[in-house]
Symmetry: C2
Subunit: 386 residues, 2 copies
């Protein structure tokens, strides 16, 4: 096992009717800026529950955070928050709103010229504070509710970049599985694949004698495979909704990453695909994963065999066959929950996507747990996505 | 899944040579009271590592916290800490020192007449603050390094009682597996069984549709079964030491308890056995568990069958046979790591231990996840421990 530090201060309040807890979680003296996306929280009752819980609190609102939250939008909120001197940010929605809110929280007190530097120039380590924030999560997917990570896009530059800071862990995250009943199917599918992929990025590398962490990761994968289809079959199945929601949080709250080697190649290539071609984040991951595994099958062989055996019950004596079968089973699982796994499913060809490799190359990024995936390898991976 | 709140603010610093991190974790302005047990930390180098890391800090020491830490000892430390106006408590050792330190931390600012009331009269909920504390853990067992629980004994009253407060979570816990190389075998064995039992108490109840939590618990059990014997075979096996240490923390940091039903009957009966007959904590658990399971086999049948299948690979069609076999396998595992499972192994008879039942009865305690274990049932369980 590798040395590690683990510290996750976020309070998770999980369960039916838990939004009412807001009254205790937000201090009456705090002036709150509520951030959210479009109108869905107004039609599914979440908005009303939040406003009811915060009766008597000073609350202003910032509406219109988009999927793949945009830097320009965040900066409008920063301006408003500075003018209104807010003390607390409350994100209502999924990972996009929450990621935006984290960036807003860091940007408000940022004293440098352009807050985009926090992300693009890696100034996150120099952050000394952020406005405290909390969230009411309505979409299980990104795990953002229990970590200090955020991904922000800047369309004008064709960029989608991540940052991470201990100052933007939510002070609390409220997770009521009932709020997910009314999610559009596409978001449900994206969430299942996103959570699965977060586990994979922290698991499918090489063995460092961390058998507990391996089993914890496998526990989440097995539960997503078991519960994901139930959610799609019966959107009002509370237990399945709750289990998927908790899987998504556990997938990226840092627990399974303790002391192990991580990858994140699929995510980083995927971010470029989203930035350049507009695919949903999870859609890019489902396309790229099989290709990354085929390309890195030698480097990942031991772990792929473990995955084949423990997740899919594949006991083949021939390791190449077992790996092929594990990749097929994974593709089959994604397809079974309604997620395509080919560029052609979106009328794209590898040739059209080669700028992805160039863009990563320009930033000097080498990917994978062995840092062996450069421009040429990304191109090879894209060819496998046809 | 049941509703739950999860919040664990402790920073875990894990790995080789991690004690040197103390320099950054303790603020130079904080006057530190170091608490520890006997001399073992002076012979195994831990004391020197701590003192080196804290060079330049104001540090005073309180020596002599015993196993099953005693109220009277704690109160001596409270007196010293108050007189010396210490700002921070640093526990060096295992769960006993740490539990004592938590009680000391709560008792120092306690304004009531007798700090024992915090525990005996359930005043823990009224605690408004405690002196901040941290730990260097040298014995993987109790999980105290990542929770707000402590167990304190008061021999004069024949009592051993637990309390829990969010104010006594360690601010940090340093876990260097190398510090465990020199542990006496008895403590190693106790630690393996204690960690295993913590998982069992949060797992072996009834199904509430929490498949992820079940699998997480099983992950810890399987890893303890796999790594425990390695530690005993080769005390200098770093990886095995690290894995057991992380299992013990994960067993009681609150993660596997999220949203599930807990039991703790075995622990509560065990505390009385320790208080009255002096057995080590883990020794009492290993004796009581098989008896509790035999007694509660109907109530726990579903989960026992799950445990039989997933932990021990028992696929018998006959559920009674499968449960018997699972209990036998568990006893076999305890014995294989050197832990006896009978009162007679300590020259005790059930008849001699009946005061245990009386003492629990006098406090009006009903045990088990169904609250169906009263005086009569505890007596029946003790008879099964012969």
């Amino acid at each position: 096992m590798q040395n590690f530090t683990f510290n996750n201060p976020t309070k998770i309040v999980f369960g039916k009717r838990s939004i009412s807890e807001l009254a205790k979680l937000v201090h009456p003296d705090e002036k709150v800026l509520m951030t959210y996306g479009g109108g869905s929280i107004k039609t599914n009752g979440v908005y009303d529950q939040v406003k009811n819980a915060l009766k008597g609190h000073r609350v202003i609102e910032f509406v219109g955070v988009e999927p793949n939250p945009e830097y320009e939008t965040c900066m409008q909120a920063v301006k408003e928050a500075r003018e209104e001197k807010v003390d607390f940010l409350l994100s209502i929605g999924g990972g996009s709103v929450l990621d935006a809110t984290k960036f807003i929280a860091a940007a408000i007190p940022y004293e440098g010229e352009d807050p985009w530097d926090i992300i693009s120039k890696g100034m996150e380590g120099r952050l000394r504070l952020a406005v405290p924030l909390g969230c009411v999560l309505t979409l299980p997917a990104t795990g953002s509710e229990a970590n200090g990570n955020a991904v922000i896009s800047r369309k004008a530059l064709g960029q989608k970049l991540a940052f991470s800071s201990r100052h933007v862990y939510p002070r609390f995250s409220i997770l009521d599985p009932e709020t997910t009943y009314s999610l559009p199917e596409r978001q449900v599918i994206n969430g299942i694949v996103d959570a699965y992929m977060h586990v994979i990025e922290q698991y499918m590398t090489y063995d460092v004698s961390a058998p507990l962490q391996d089993r914890l990761a496998e526990s989440i994968l097995l539960t997503i495979i078991e519960e994901g289809p139930k959610v799609r079959k019966d959107p009002y199945n509370y237990e399945a909704r709750a289990n998927i929601m908790w899987c998504a949080t556990m997938a990226l709250n840092g627990v399974i990453a303790c002391g192990v080697v991580e990858d994140w190649a699929t995510h980083l290539i995927g971010h470029e695909l989203t930035a350049l071609h507009g695919l949903d984040h999870a859609q890019t991951l489902a396309i790229l994963l099989p290709a990354v595994w085929k390309h890195q099958r030698v480097q990942k062989a031991e772990k792929l065999l473990n995955y084949a055996r423990r997740i899919w019950g594949i006991e083949s004596d021939d390791s190449e066959t077992a790996i092929d079968e594990a990749i097929d089973k994974t593709v089959g699982f994604f397809n079974s929950v309604g997620m395509p796994t080919r560029l052609s499913d979106y009328d794209l060809t590898p040739a059209e996507c080669m700028k992805v490799a160039e863009q990563l190359h320009r930033r000097g990024v080498k990917l994978g747990e062995h840092k062996n995936i450069g421009k040429k390898e990304v191109e090879e991976i894209l060819l496998l996505c046809a």
